[in-house]
């Protein structure tokens, strides 16, 4: 029995009828066609599916779409504004914070939340904040540097 939901995704309101068991990540990917949010495990360990739900980072593979009824969601596609990359996206590019790119959208969303909560995190705080996101390519060092770059940029310092 399908249920009607209304969800605002990246500033656009969507009204859809979905099966109650449909995962939020499948709603985002398969119904809305926003495929930047990835699935890397089914156990909410890897974080490739991380999106922001009402400003909180959420693993969208462990939430049903109907639980997001009435919520405001930001996915990786909604992060850049007016054709300009978000500072975290820019940091990942500048510091080589990605290789295969599969974990990257989730990693960027998680990093965005870290900086929203703490504009000037230490290296240790960044590493701790990223514990819910796995990367198999980079060894994390360039990811940490990408977040540090974004922190500088967002606080108005010279990023380089």
């Amino acid at each position: 029995m399908k249920k009607a939901i209304t969800v605002n995704v990246n500033g656009t309101a969507h009204h859809d009828e979905v099966e109650p068991r449909m995962l939020l990540v499948h709603y985002i990917r398969d119904v809305l066609g926003l495929t930047g949010t990835h699935v890397g495990c089914e156990t909410s360990i890897c974080g490739a599916c991380t999106v922001l739900v009402d400003g909180q980072s959420v693993k969208s593979c462990t939430m049903f779409a109907i639980q997001a009824d009435g919520a405001s969601i930001t996915t990786i596609e909604g992060l850049a504004a007016n054709g300009e990359l978000h500072p975290v996206q820019e940091g990942f590019w500048e510091q080589h914070g990605l290789q295969c790119g599969y974990c990257t959208p989730g990693m960027i969303m998680a990093a965005t939340q870290i900086l929203n909560r703490n504009p000037n995190p230490s290296e240790e705080e960044i590493r701790h904040g990223l514990e819910g996101n796995l990367c198999r390519c980079t060894g994390y060092q360039h990811i940490v540097e990408a977040v540090q770059y974004a922190a500088r940029k967002m606080s108005g310092q010279a990023a380089d």
Binding site: V39, Q89, W93, Q99, E123, L130, C137, T138, G139, V144
Partner: protein
Amino acid sequence: MSYVGKRVKRTEDPRLIQGLGHYVDDIKLPDTLYVAFLRSMYAHARITSIDTSEAAHAPGVVAVYTGKDVASKIGPVPCAAALPDLKVPDYRVLATDHVVFVGQPIAAVVATDRYAARDAIDLIMVDYEELPAVVDVEEAAKGGPLVYEEYGDNIAYKLTSGEGDIEAAMQQADRIVKQRMVHQRLAPIAMEPRGVLARYLPGEQELTIWSSTQIPHLLRTQLALMIGIPENKLRVITPEVGGGFGSKLNVYAEEALLGWISMQLGKPVKWIETRRENIQATIHGRGQVGEIEVGVKNDGTITGLRYNVYADLGAYHQLLTPAIPTLTGLMLSGAYKIPAIQMNVTGVFTNKMATDAYRGAGRPEATYVVERIMDVVAAELGMDPVEVRRKNFPAPSEFPFKTATGLFYDSGNYEAALTRALEMSDYANLREEQRKARDEGRLIGIGVSSYVEICALGPSQAMPAGGWESATVRIEPTGKVTVLTGASPHGQGQETSFAQIVADQLGVALEDVTVIHGDTSIVQYGIGTFGSRATAVGGTAVYYAVEKLKEKASKIAAHMLGADAAGIVFKEGKFSKQAARAASAAAEVPQPDVPVGQAPAGALPEPEPEGKQISIQEIALAAHIAREIPPGMEPGLSATHFFEPTNFTFPFGTHIVAVEVDRETGEIKFLRYVAVDDCGKVINPLLVDGQVHGGIVQSIGQAMYEEVVYDEQGQLVTGTLMDYAVPKAAMIPQMETDRTETPTPVNPMGVKGVGEAGTIGATPAIVNAIVDALAPLGVRHLDMPIKPENVWRIINAQA
């Protein structure tokens, strides 16, 4: 403008950081059907019946296939490794009456959406008659239950390799040092699981397969043979590939099945691997249990080395399964002069998923046993581990250096990399700190590993199926440059690094170069990306293709400028006549091959341009309009090169690690991680750092966290990422990296490859450090993964 050698930001990244790239599951075709697999729940069983009738009538289900439906239609999963007397089980894409590991596919359900396909799996009734499983590799080798009754034992092959008189070498030694070592099974865990989308067009009779693979062309050839479609009617596309690490250097049952099913139904079909399936039924790596033995003089000189090893192959052969341990045999000389080497390997069937190439593929196993035994030797002789290594290094003047494993190391300066690592880590001071800490009862350890790896795989004579690589470079009429590479990058960044090479050679802007890969209908036949080969072999093919293209462009330029081809100079992207003096000199002296960005030794002063200049991009337009080209010349401006390397390359380096062990908890904390790697000439240092970091962290995973565990019945215990411990950001130290640069003579750019250095060099350095920390407790060796619990038990057994 010069790009080679600079930290150029990747051109791949803008799409990836905005979520705009397309991995297999991101490709949406109308009317796509979804496939789910029923997999064996037993490690070893006979299937007495399969009833699919309920599943076939479930909502949304379009078709259900079992082994009987496909046995005569789809050929077996191929193994490309040829070894003497190798037993090759007939491994079918769906099991019929016998399953040999947990996760083996038994039936495929096709449905209108992925939820319906998954639901219907539970409606298939399979009757199993469980058989005893054999899980432990040594038990399997020495007897135990048989994986295949018809073979009479579990031995897939036995092989002895190496050169020199090993018995005499051992007799010359003052002592023999032996150690049993276990190299546990690992799961590669590319963050993107495997996935396949197949679309058959009945009208055109063309099948397109999008697959998350490292080898599009090899896959096309193998799938064409498996499912019986002409190879020129089959197109394989690798869209974005979310990591491979060797796990996608393969031909899998699911790839063939999806193609075949699409041909039956005339519709697109998609299967995306779940992580549980990924850990069950995507290849594992490593899995060796052996005893390493060296003969050693009292001054630390190694006289001979023997490695007797059981290789845990799993239940059947994937593409290269039995060949992986042979790479171990090749690299047993490590960074040392060892006159006699022998490896005796027994490849053993067990009721587990097949092992195959995982980042390093047989070489980490060799480096690990060699670098661990060097530390055991040092401990027995009371020498510093650094001195034992130095004692046995070949000098730079001894290259090309022949090993007793039959290789010629191309170039090397092992002492230089070691010295740099000692400087960076302030080794003498570290040892002093360790001494003080030990006096206080603290457990600090220092580990050193001086590794050599074999890269740029490889000369075709030494490879199962072609070791060359291909490239086509063309300049379009508008001056934009298109590069088609047979390599298949999946995160390594060659869209950028190959563009750097080409932009420098042609004197054009980086933005004007586009690198295309991973589509068999667009790109000429290629081999793919694995074995740290893409830049050293594939990049070299690109280099030579550009040189050919420039030669043609030069002739067109000469024609347009009214000069001899020999009297033309090419500088910063523009052709012109040479100034008179330089022209006559150049005509007399042949120009040697010049690596990118380098002047050859003793080169003539660079010829000076004179008069009118024509850019190579203008030449491209002229070549296509074809009114101003020399009579008889083919129009267009394109060149293809297939590069066959004459040798492998042998990067090397030294990693130094310092750790402290917590006596209360057994936890291991990194104090320093220093890595000095020499991968020859570097195209893009940013990318090299990324490769080194990622490899080291996979090594940390192996040394301290990761292990594929099966229980005694062959059930997979580590079936999810909750149980299989991939390192997280907070587990990882800051890595301090540097490089020495010893170019290879094997290719004109002097590049060696760096993709696997981390997983090869780092693992023994970490274990050496932990063992060194525990040495005061009498520890001489520990098997991986070294978890706090193991360490805690050792500490408390002493107390």
